[in-house]
């Protein structure tokens, strides 16, 4: 019975990770505590010497940032289950959009706003912006974008009918009865949505590796899929 494994994880992973943690604890009898917050806050805390053993980021950027500062163990880095990006509308909306090159969202938006997570800071926002750029729609809508603090808040804007369209993760959209998935962005239109995980440089807890390994197991995969994540689970290049 040693110290608990301390996991720093992006807040959007809470549901899947809580279940995974429970399964791991049941299997090993060890314990883990998970601190959920924004990837940026967690990364900065690790920089400041936080006692984290495992870091799960919402996208590659902050993991790269830590890697650049030599604060994670590169050999342990893994991309965990990813997600798909979808265009959503309030459930009563009849709007039809097909996400193809040459896309123009203006008719569908009308006078409304396009709800997205922050397009500079939040992974889902950045992915969405990349996809719209790829499809040629960004210039047309960029002034109509309402940037929420995070993807859940963007979803809320659509679900409350404030915005006629929004770009969010499928895992979130799937379980919200007030929104309808209008279309899914093609896989190639944006960088792959992945959640990189790694052991921190400073970890001294031998059970941390066991936890990280468990995240890659079939059990964990099932849990993640149940929560709407797409399992990529491939070692990082």
């Amino acid at each position: 019975q040693g110290k608990d494994v301390v996991v720093f994880a992006a807040a959007s992973l809470k549901n899947a990770l809580d279940d995974t943690k429970a399964a791991w604890e049941a299997e090993t009898g060890d314990k883990a505590v998970i601190s959920y917050a924004g990837s940026n806050a967690l990364a900065r805390q690790i920089e400041a010497g936080a006692p984290a053993d495992v870091f799960l980021s919402a996208d590659a950027e902050w993991m790269d940032h830590l890697a650049g500062k030599d604060l994670i163990r590169p050999e342990s880095r893994t991309d965990l289950p990813g997600n798909a990006l979808v265009l959503v509308a309030p459930k009563e909306s009849a709007v039809r959009v097909s996400l193809e090159p040459g896309l123009d969202l203006s008719p569908a938006l009308g006078a409304g706003r396009l709800a997205m997570a922050n397009v500079d800071a939040v992974p889902a926002g950045r992915y969405g912006k990349a996809a719209l750029e790829k499809l040629g729609a960004w210039e047309g809508v960029k002034n109509e974008v309402a940037q929420a603090e995070n993807v859940r808040a963007a979803l809320l804007l659509v679900s409350r009918g404030e915005a006629p369209l929004g770009i969010v993760y499928r895992s979130d959209a799937a379980v919200d009865p007030n929104v309808r998935i209008v279309a899914t962005f093609p896989e190639g239109s944006h960088p792959p949505v992945v959640y990189p995980a790694a052991l921190t440089k400073g970890t001294t807890n031998p059970k941390a590796a066991s936890f990280l390994a468990f995240l890659r197991s079939a059990k964990a995969k099932a849990i993640f899929e149940k929560q709407g994540f797409t399992v990529l689970n491939r070692p990082n290049a």
Binding site: G38, N40, A43, E61, W62, H65, R113, A115, N118, D120, A121, V122, V145, A146, Q147, A148, E149, A153, A154, L156, L157, R160, G161, E162
Partner: protein, 231 residues
Amino acid sequence: MTDWLSPEEWAAVRLSLKVALTAMAASLVPGILVAFLLERGRFWGRQALDVLVHLPLVLPPVVVGYVLLLGFGRRGPIGSVLAEQFGIVFAFRWTGAALACAIMGFPLLVRAVRLSIETVDRKLEDAAGTLGANPAWVFLVVTLPLIMPGIIAGMVLSFAKAMGEFGATITFVSNIPGETQTLPTAIYTLTQVPGGEAGALRLTLASIVISVGALLASEWLARRARRRFFA
């Protein structure tokens, strides 16, 4: 001189000022009123009102923003009525940011005013009454000047809070440059990306400069108000 901030950043500064001033001004009269009710009133539900006023302080800002969205959004019970009857829309507008800031600063304003009301010498109000002033006049020409220090303090707190408010604002009206992107939301965004520190620092400095200005102005006002008593 103006190029240490980008045009977009200047827009955020201007917007923040507008939002903070509006929030402060709009909450002033209701704040004084509620402070009076809470301090002097003896009505059923006083305690409930007291709790309600404090809620924005007690709840995480995000929750407040969420509640605002539910209530004042396009489909919210209050928001829909306001929009239909009066054409007042908060969603994605700077007015929504001002509303969020006003509500977040409201408990601070009310508390400050209450503290001042508590120390007003009721005997002076009585004296004004004997001289023919009815309660409304007593309030205007005696009570109000006497609680000026509390009102000024409340305004400072409300303004300062509005300059720093972020969670409720972004949740309620999100972050639209030029429309709802206030200084705090701009700063927040910059802290979310690696390497944004320099920009965040610049905007933080802008925010501090404005607040120093506001503080100095308030101290000047307070000194004037105080001089009235001890000249």
